[in-house]
Protein backbone atom coordinates (compact mmCIF):
# COMPACT_ATOMS: atom_id res chain seq x y z
CA UNK A 1 0.00 0.00 0.00
CA UNK A 2 1.20 3.49 -0.80
CA UNK A 3 2.31 5.63 2.10
CA UNK A 4 0.51 8.91 2.60
CA UNK A 5 3.12 10.31 4.92
CA UNK A 6 6.76 9.34 5.16
CA UNK A 7 8.90 10.96 7.78
CA UNK A 8 12.58 10.19 8.20
CA UNK A 9 14.72 11.49 11.03
CA UNK A 10 12.72 14.63 11.32
CA UNK A 11 13.96 17.28 13.71
CA UNK A 12 12.53 20.58 14.77
CA UNK A 13 14.43 22.65 17.23
CA UNK A 14 13.81 26.10 18.54
CA UNK A 15 16.53 28.17 20.15
CA UNK A 16 17.07 26.04 23.23
CA UNK A 17 14.46 23.41 22.79
CA UNK A 18 14.11 20.28 20.72
CA UNK A 19 10.43 20.07 19.83
CA UNK A 20 10.83 17.02 17.60
CA UNK A 21 13.76 14.70 17.87
CA UNK A 22 14.83 12.22 15.18
CA UNK A 23 11.33 11.06 14.41
CA UNK A 24 10.64 8.54 11.67
CA UNK A 25 7.41 6.85 10.66
CA UNK A 26 5.13 6.12 7.74
CA UNK A 27 1.37 6.39 7.52
CA UNK A 28 -0.63 4.29 5.11
CA UNK A 29 -3.59 5.42 3.05
CA UNK A 30 -7.14 5.23 4.34
CA UNK A 31 -6.42 4.35 7.93
CA UNK A 32 -7.49 6.22 11.04
CA UNK A 33 -4.48 7.09 13.13
CA UNK A 34 -4.42 8.22 16.73
CA UNK A 35 -1.64 10.61 17.61
CA UNK A 36 -1.42 10.52 21.37
CA UNK A 37 0.77 12.05 24.00
CA UNK A 38 0.86 14.70 26.66
CA UNK A 39 0.70 18.44 26.08
CA UNK A 40 3.99 19.68 24.73
CA UNK A 41 5.01 16.25 23.50
CA UNK A 42 5.38 17.67 19.99
CA UNK A 43 2.17 16.49 18.35
CA UNK A 44 1.04 19.87 17.02
CA UNK A 45 4.57 20.73 15.90
CA UNK A 46 4.71 17.49 13.95
CA UNK A 47 1.37 18.09 12.24
CA UNK A 48 2.29 21.67 11.41
CA UNK A 49 5.38 20.41 9.62
CA UNK A 50 3.38 17.82 7.72
CA UNK A 51 1.09 20.60 6.50
CA UNK A 52 3.98 22.99 5.73
CA UNK A 53 2.79 25.56 8.23
CA UNK A 54 6.19 25.49 9.87
CA UNK A 55 9.51 24.22 8.58
CA UNK A 56 11.58 21.26 9.80
CA UNK A 57 15.08 21.94 11.07
CA UNK A 58 16.33 18.78 9.40
CA UNK A 59 15.13 15.46 8.10
CA UNK A 60 13.03 14.14 5.28
CA UNK A 61 9.31 14.67 4.98
CA UNK A 62 7.11 13.34 2.19
CA UNK A 63 3.36 13.73 1.97
CA UNK A 64 1.63 11.89 -0.88
CA UNK A 65 5.14 11.14 -2.08
CA UNK A 66 6.24 14.75 -2.36
CA UNK A 67 7.47 17.58 -0.19
CA UNK A 68 4.46 19.50 1.10
CA UNK A 69 5.97 23.00 1.08
CA UNK A 70 4.26 25.22 -1.52
CA UNK A 71 3.13 22.06 -3.28
CA UNK A 72 -0.39 22.43 -4.63
CA UNK A 73 -0.70 18.69 -5.39
CA UNK A 74 -0.06 17.89 -1.77
CA UNK A 75 -1.71 20.77 0.04
CA UNK A 76 -4.95 20.54 -1.92
CA UNK A 77 -5.38 17.06 -0.46
CA UNK A 78 -4.91 18.10 3.14
CA UNK A 79 -7.32 19.56 5.65
CA UNK A 80 -5.80 20.31 9.03
CA UNK A 81 -8.14 21.46 11.77
CA UNK A 82 -6.31 22.57 14.84
CA UNK A 83 -7.52 23.62 18.21
CA UNK A 84 -6.27 27.16 17.65
CA UNK A 85 -7.60 27.51 14.10
CA UNK A 86 -7.88 31.23 13.30
CA UNK A 87 -10.62 32.82 11.24
CA UNK A 88 -10.74 36.39 9.93
CA UNK A 89 -12.39 38.62 12.54
CA UNK A 90 -15.40 39.67 10.53
CA UNK A 91 -16.31 36.19 9.28
CA UNK A 92 -19.56 34.54 10.19
CA UNK A 93 -19.93 30.78 10.02
CA UNK A 94 -21.35 30.90 6.51
CA UNK A 95 -18.33 32.88 5.29
CA UNK A 96 -15.94 30.30 6.69
CA UNK A 97 -17.87 27.45 5.10
CA UNK A 98 -18.23 29.16 1.70
CA UNK A 99 -14.53 29.88 1.55
CA UNK A 100 -13.74 26.31 2.59
CA UNK A 101 -16.01 25.10 -0.17
CA UNK A 102 -13.97 26.92 -2.77
CA UNK A 103 -10.68 25.72 -1.28
CA UNK A 104 -11.27 21.99 -0.78
CA UNK A 105 -11.87 20.09 -4.03
CA UNK A 106 -13.89 17.28 -2.40
CA UNK A 107 -16.15 19.56 -0.36
CA UNK A 108 -19.65 18.12 0.09
CA UNK A 109 -22.27 20.84 0.47
CA UNK A 110 -25.05 18.53 1.63
CA UNK A 111 -22.85 16.91 4.20
CA UNK A 112 -21.80 20.31 5.55
CA UNK A 113 -25.45 21.35 5.79
CA UNK A 114 -26.44 18.26 7.71
CA UNK A 115 -23.48 18.69 10.04
CA UNK A 116 -24.51 22.27 10.71
CA UNK A 117 -27.92 21.03 11.74
CA UNK A 118 -26.38 18.31 13.89
CA UNK A 119 -24.29 20.80 15.79
CA UNK A 120 -26.97 23.51 15.85
CA UNK A 121 -24.69 26.14 14.40
CA UNK A 122 -26.06 29.66 13.80
CA UNK A 123 -24.83 30.36 10.26
CA UNK A 124 -25.13 34.12 10.46
CA UNK A 125 -23.35 34.55 13.74
CA UNK A 126 -19.90 36.05 13.68
CA UNK A 127 -17.19 33.55 14.51
CA UNK A 128 -15.70 35.97 16.99
CA UNK A 129 -18.90 35.79 19.02
CA UNK A 130 -19.18 32.00 19.12
CA UNK A 131 -18.72 30.01 22.29
CA UNK A 132 -15.62 27.86 22.50
CA UNK A 133 -17.68 24.76 21.80
CA UNK A 134 -19.34 26.26 18.72
CA UNK A 135 -15.96 27.40 17.44
CA UNK A 136 -14.72 23.84 17.75
CA UNK A 137 -17.83 22.58 15.98
CA UNK A 138 -17.13 24.89 13.02
CA UNK A 139 -13.69 23.30 12.70
CA UNK A 140 -15.21 19.85 12.87
CA UNK A 141 -17.73 20.68 10.14
CA UNK A 142 -14.96 21.99 7.88
CA UNK A 143 -12.74 19.02 8.61
CA UNK A 144 -15.43 16.46 7.87
CA UNK A 145 -17.10 18.15 4.90
CA UNK A 146 -13.73 18.80 3.22
CA UNK A 147 -13.38 15.03 2.70
CA UNK A 148 -9.69 15.71 2.22
CA UNK A 149 -7.66 12.56 1.46
CA UNK A 150 -5.56 13.48 4.48
CA UNK A 151 -7.70 14.95 7.24
CA UNK A 152 -6.03 15.95 10.49
CA UNK A 153 -7.86 16.88 13.66
CA UNK A 154 -5.71 18.30 16.44
CA UNK A 155 -7.70 18.35 19.69
CA UNK A 156 -10.75 19.50 17.78
CA UNK A 157 -13.28 19.25 20.59
CA UNK A 158 -12.35 21.96 23.08
CA UNK A 159 -15.48 23.22 24.84
CA UNK A 160 -17.69 20.54 23.31
CA UNK A 161 -19.82 18.50 25.66
CA UNK A 162 -19.83 14.71 25.66
CA UNK A 163 -22.93 14.55 23.45
CA UNK A 164 -21.39 16.73 20.75
CA UNK A 165 -18.13 14.85 20.93
CA UNK A 166 -20.05 11.62 20.47
CA UNK A 167 -21.75 13.20 17.48
CA UNK A 168 -18.37 14.06 16.01
CA UNK A 169 -17.09 10.49 16.38
CA UNK A 170 -20.32 9.08 14.93
CA UNK A 171 -20.32 11.33 11.89
CA UNK A 172 -16.62 10.75 11.35
CA UNK A 173 -17.07 6.98 11.32
CA UNK A 174 -20.21 7.02 9.17
CA UNK A 175 -18.55 9.19 6.59
CA UNK A 176 -15.24 7.37 6.79
CA UNK A 177 -16.96 4.09 5.95
CA UNK A 178 -18.55 5.68 2.88
CA UNK A 179 -15.52 7.73 1.89
CA UNK A 180 -12.35 6.17 3.24
CA UNK A 181 -9.47 8.56 3.72
CA UNK A 182 -6.47 8.97 5.94
CA UNK A 183 -7.41 10.53 9.24
CA UNK A 184 -5.13 11.61 12.04
CA UNK A 185 -6.81 12.28 15.36
CA UNK A 186 -4.63 13.96 17.91
CA UNK A 187 -6.27 13.74 21.28
CA UNK A 188 -6.06 13.41 25.05
CA UNK A 189 -9.41 11.70 25.30
CA UNK A 190 -8.07 8.32 24.34
CA UNK A 191 -10.87 6.32 25.96
CA UNK A 192 -13.42 8.13 23.81
CA UNK A 193 -11.80 7.45 20.47
CA UNK A 194 -9.71 4.37 20.99
CA UNK A 195 -12.18 2.01 19.34
CA UNK A 196 -12.15 4.17 16.20
CA UNK A 197 -8.41 3.99 15.76
CA UNK A 198 -6.63 1.49 13.60
CA UNK A 199 -3.12 2.53 14.41
CA UNK A 200 -1.56 4.39 17.30
CA UNK A 201 1.34 6.81 17.45
CA UNK A 202 2.46 8.01 20.84
CA UNK A 203 4.78 10.95 21.27
CA UNK A 204 6.68 11.79 24.39
CA UNK A 205 9.15 14.62 24.82
CA UNK A 206 9.50 15.15 21.09
CA UNK A 207 10.09 11.49 20.35
CA UNK A 208 7.88 8.86 18.86
CA UNK A 209 7.75 6.10 21.47
CA UNK A 210 4.97 3.93 20.06
CA UNK A 211 4.05 3.24 16.44
CA UNK A 212 1.81 0.23 16.53
CA UNK A 213 -1.42 -1.35 15.41
CA UNK A 214 -4.16 -0.40 17.87
CA UNK A 215 -5.28 -3.98 18.32
CA UNK A 216 -1.79 -5.18 19.12
CA UNK A 217 -1.43 -2.40 21.60
CA UNK A 218 -4.73 -3.20 23.28
CA UNK A 219 -3.56 -6.69 24.13
CA UNK A 220 -0.07 -5.56 24.91
CA UNK A 221 -0.24 -5.08 28.65
CA UNK A 222 -2.09 -6.30 31.70
CA UNK A 223 -2.13 -5.50 35.37
CA UNK A 224 -1.39 -8.02 38.09
CA UNK A 225 -2.37 -7.43 41.69
CA UNK A 226 -1.51 -9.46 44.76
CA UNK A 227 0.83 -9.80 47.69
CA UNK A 228 3.83 -7.61 47.09
CA UNK A 229 6.33 -10.46 47.44
CA UNK A 230 4.45 -12.67 44.99
CA UNK A 231 4.06 -9.84 42.49
CA UNK A 232 7.74 -8.99 42.77
CA UNK A 233 8.62 -12.59 42.10
CA UNK A 234 6.37 -12.59 39.07
CA UNK A 235 7.86 -9.38 37.72
CA UNK A 236 11.37 -10.76 37.47
CA UNK A 237 12.44 -10.71 33.86
CA UNK A 238 9.36 -8.82 32.70
CA UNK A 239 8.92 -5.35 31.31
CA UNK A 240 7.07 -3.38 33.95
CA UNK A 241 5.61 -0.04 32.95
CA UNK A 242 3.91 0.91 36.17
CA UNK A 243 3.79 -0.17 39.78
CA UNK A 244 1.55 0.98 42.57
CA UNK A 245 1.86 -0.36 46.11
CA UNK A 246 -1.23 -0.47 48.30
CA UNK A 247 -0.71 -1.67 51.85
CA UNK A 248 0.85 -5.09 51.59
CA UNK A 249 -0.36 -5.39 48.04
CA UNK A 250 1.29 -4.41 44.85
CA UNK A 251 -0.34 -3.68 41.57
CA UNK A 252 1.90 -3.72 38.51
CA UNK A 253 1.32 -3.24 34.82
CA UNK A 254 3.48 -5.42 32.63
CA UNK A 255 3.97 -5.88 28.93
CA UNK A 256 2.98 -9.28 27.58
CA UNK A 257 5.83 -11.61 26.80
CA UNK A 258 6.13 -12.98 23.29
CA UNK A 259 4.75 -16.46 23.99
CA UNK A 260 1.76 -15.15 25.96
CA UNK A 261 2.10 -17.66 28.79
CA UNK A 262 2.66 -15.04 31.44
CA UNK A 263 -1.01 -14.57 32.26
CA UNK A 264 -1.31 -18.26 33.06
CA UNK A 265 1.80 -17.98 35.16
CA UNK A 266 0.24 -15.09 37.05
CA UNK A 267 -3.02 -16.92 37.80
CA UNK A 268 -1.01 -19.94 38.81
CA UNK A 269 0.79 -17.93 41.44
CA UNK A 270 -2.54 -16.62 42.68
CA UNK A 271 -2.32 -13.12 41.27
CA UNK A 272 -5.32 -11.25 40.02
CA UNK A 273 -5.26 -10.13 36.42
CA UNK A 274 -7.04 -7.13 34.99
CA UNK A 275 -6.96 -5.63 31.53
CA UNK A 276 -5.26 -2.32 30.80
CA UNK A 277 -7.08 0.16 28.62
CA UNK A 278 -5.24 1.99 25.87
CA UNK A 279 -5.56 5.20 27.84
CA UNK A 280 -4.01 3.67 30.95
CA UNK A 281 -1.23 2.14 28.92
CA UNK A 282 -0.40 5.43 27.22
CA UNK A 283 -0.51 7.28 30.53
CA UNK A 284 1.84 4.74 32.06
CA UNK A 285 4.19 4.84 29.12
CA UNK A 286 4.37 8.62 29.00
CA UNK A 287 4.45 9.47 32.68
CA UNK A 288 6.12 6.63 34.51
CA UNK A 289 9.08 6.38 32.28
CA UNK A 290 11.58 6.44 35.08
CA UNK A 291 10.09 3.19 36.33
CA UNK A 292 10.40 1.50 33.02
CA UNK A 293 12.79 -1.38 32.99
CA UNK A 294 14.61 -2.72 30.04
CA UNK A 295 13.14 -5.89 28.63
CA UNK A 296 15.08 -8.76 29.95
CA UNK A 297 15.40 -11.27 27.17
CA UNK A 298 16.89 -14.48 28.38
Amino acid sequence: MKNVIEVKQLNKSYEKFNAIHDTSFALQANKIYGLLGRNGAGKTTLMKMITAQIFPTSGDLKVFGEGPYENANVLSQICFIKESQKYPDHYNILDALDVSKSIFPNWDVNFSRSLIKDFNLPLKRRIKKLSRGMLSAVGIVIGLASRAPLTIFDEPYLGLDAVSRGLFYDRLMEDYVEHPRTVILSTHLIDEVSSLLEHILVMDNGKLIIDQDAEELRGKAFTVTGQASKVEAFLIGKETVHREPFGGLLSATVIHSENGSDQKQATASGLEISPVSLQQLVVHLTSGRSEQKEVNTK
Binding site: K31, I32, Y169, D170, M173, E174, Y176, V177, D191, S194, S195, L196, L197, E198, A214, E215, E216, R218, G219, F222, T267, A268, G270, S274, P275, V276, S277, L278, Q279
Partner: protein
Amino acid sequence: MKNLIDDGRPIFVQIAERIEDDIIEGGLPEEAQVPSTNQFAAFYKINPATAAKGVNLLVDEGILYKKRGIGMFVAGGARTKVIEKRKEQFFDEYVVTMIREAEKLGITADQLMDMIQRGDNKR
Protein backbone atom coordinates in the same frame (compact mmCIF):
# COMPACT_ATOMS: atom_id res chain seq x y z
CA MET B 1 -23.57 1.81 21.98
CA LYS B 2 -23.60 -1.78 23.21
CA ASN B 3 -21.50 -2.36 26.23
CA LEU B 4 -19.28 -4.51 24.13
CA ILE B 5 -16.08 -2.65 23.84
CA ASP B 6 -13.71 -3.39 26.62
CA ASP B 7 -10.65 -1.41 25.84
CA GLY B 8 -8.23 -3.72 27.58
CA ARG B 9 -8.63 -6.53 25.05
CA PRO B 10 -8.28 -6.57 21.30
CA ILE B 11 -11.58 -5.44 19.82
CA PHE B 12 -11.49 -7.86 16.90
CA VAL B 13 -11.54 -10.74 19.38
CA GLN B 14 -14.57 -9.20 21.02
CA ILE B 15 -16.30 -8.82 17.66
CA ALA B 16 -15.60 -12.46 16.86
CA GLU B 17 -17.05 -13.44 20.24
CA ARG B 18 -20.14 -11.37 19.54
CA ILE B 19 -20.75 -13.17 16.28
CA GLU B 20 -20.14 -16.52 17.98
CA ASP B 21 -22.65 -15.63 20.70
CA ASP B 22 -25.19 -14.84 18.03
CA ILE B 23 -24.53 -18.15 16.32
CA ILE B 24 -24.92 -20.08 19.59
CA GLU B 25 -28.09 -18.25 20.56
CA GLY B 26 -29.61 -18.76 17.13
CA GLY B 27 -29.65 -15.13 16.09
CA LEU B 28 -27.43 -16.12 13.19
CA PRO B 29 -28.52 -19.55 11.92
CA GLU B 30 -26.38 -21.48 9.46
CA GLU B 31 -26.28 -20.00 5.98
CA ALA B 32 -27.49 -16.64 7.33
CA GLN B 33 -25.70 -13.52 6.14
CA VAL B 34 -23.50 -11.79 8.67
CA PRO B 35 -23.64 -7.97 8.81
CA SER B 36 -20.97 -6.27 6.73
CA THR B 37 -17.84 -4.90 8.36
CA ASN B 38 -19.12 -1.41 7.70
CA GLN B 39 -22.33 -2.23 9.54
CA PHE B 40 -20.32 -3.57 12.44
CA ALA B 41 -18.20 -0.44 12.39
CA ALA B 42 -21.20 1.86 12.41
CA PHE B 43 -23.07 -0.10 15.07
CA TYR B 44 -20.26 -0.59 17.56
CA LYS B 45 -18.43 2.65 16.66
CA ILE B 46 -15.28 0.82 15.82
CA ASN B 47 -12.83 0.97 12.99
CA PRO B 48 -14.01 -1.07 9.99
CA ALA B 49 -10.55 -2.59 9.63
CA THR B 50 -10.88 -3.92 13.16
CA ALA B 51 -14.32 -5.34 12.43
CA ALA B 52 -12.94 -7.00 9.31
CA LYS B 53 -10.18 -8.55 11.37
CA GLY B 54 -12.76 -10.06 13.73
CA VAL B 55 -14.82 -11.45 10.87
CA ASN B 56 -11.72 -12.84 9.15
CA LEU B 57 -10.74 -14.60 12.34
CA LEU B 58 -13.96 -16.61 12.09
CA VAL B 59 -13.44 -17.20 8.37
CA ASP B 60 -10.05 -18.71 9.19
CA GLU B 61 -11.68 -20.99 11.72
CA GLY B 62 -14.24 -22.11 9.18
CA ILE B 63 -17.14 -20.64 11.12
CA LEU B 64 -17.96 -18.06 8.46
CA TYR B 65 -17.36 -18.19 4.75
CA LYS B 66 -17.18 -15.58 2.07
CA LYS B 67 -19.40 -15.42 -1.00
CA ARG B 68 -17.61 -13.24 -3.49
CA GLY B 69 -19.28 -9.93 -4.06
CA ILE B 70 -22.15 -10.72 -1.72
CA GLY B 71 -20.80 -10.97 1.79
CA MET B 72 -20.10 -13.23 4.73
CA PHE B 73 -22.28 -16.19 5.70
CA VAL B 74 -22.47 -18.62 8.58
CA ALA B 75 -20.93 -21.94 7.53
CA GLY B 76 -22.65 -25.29 7.88
CA GLY B 77 -21.85 -26.91 11.20
CA ALA B 78 -20.67 -23.58 12.57
CA ARG B 79 -22.79 -23.81 15.69
CA THR B 80 -21.34 -27.16 16.77
CA LYS B 81 -17.85 -25.87 16.07
CA VAL B 82 -18.39 -22.74 18.15
CA ILE B 83 -19.92 -24.66 21.02
CA GLU B 84 -16.99 -27.10 21.06
CA LYS B 85 -14.59 -24.18 21.14
CA ARG B 86 -16.52 -22.49 23.89
CA LYS B 87 -16.54 -25.64 25.98
CA GLU B 88 -12.77 -25.66 25.85
CA GLN B 89 -12.68 -22.02 26.87
CA PHE B 90 -15.22 -22.70 29.60
CA PHE B 91 -12.97 -25.33 31.03
CA ASP B 92 -9.93 -23.07 30.93
CA GLU B 93 -11.55 -19.91 32.14
CA TYR B 94 -14.10 -21.13 34.66
CA VAL B 95 -13.39 -24.68 35.77
CA VAL B 96 -9.67 -24.37 36.22
CA THR B 97 -10.01 -21.00 37.90
CA MET B 98 -12.76 -22.31 40.14
CA ILE B 99 -10.74 -25.30 41.27
CA ARG B 100 -7.76 -23.09 41.99
CA GLU B 101 -9.84 -20.66 44.05
CA ALA B 102 -11.47 -23.61 45.85
CA GLU B 103 -8.03 -24.93 46.75
CA LYS B 104 -7.12 -21.57 48.20
CA LEU B 105 -10.20 -21.57 50.40
CA GLY B 106 -9.74 -25.21 51.41
CA ILE B 107 -12.89 -26.45 49.67
CA THR B 108 -12.74 -30.17 48.99
CA ALA B 109 -13.84 -31.75 45.74
CA ASP B 110 -16.99 -33.14 47.38
CA GLN B 111 -17.92 -29.75 48.80
CA LEU B 112 -17.37 -28.28 45.36
CA MET B 113 -19.73 -30.80 43.77
CA ASP B 114 -22.25 -29.94 46.47
CA MET B 115 -21.99 -26.29 45.67
CA ILE B 116 -22.53 -26.94 41.98
CA GLN B 117 -25.71 -28.86 42.86
CA ARG B 118 -26.94 -25.99 45.02
CA GLY B 119 -26.17 -23.50 42.31
CA ASP B 120 -28.14 -25.55 39.84
CA ASN B 121 -31.15 -25.66 42.18
CA LYS B 122 -31.07 -21.91 42.64
CA ARG B 123 -31.39 -21.29 38.93
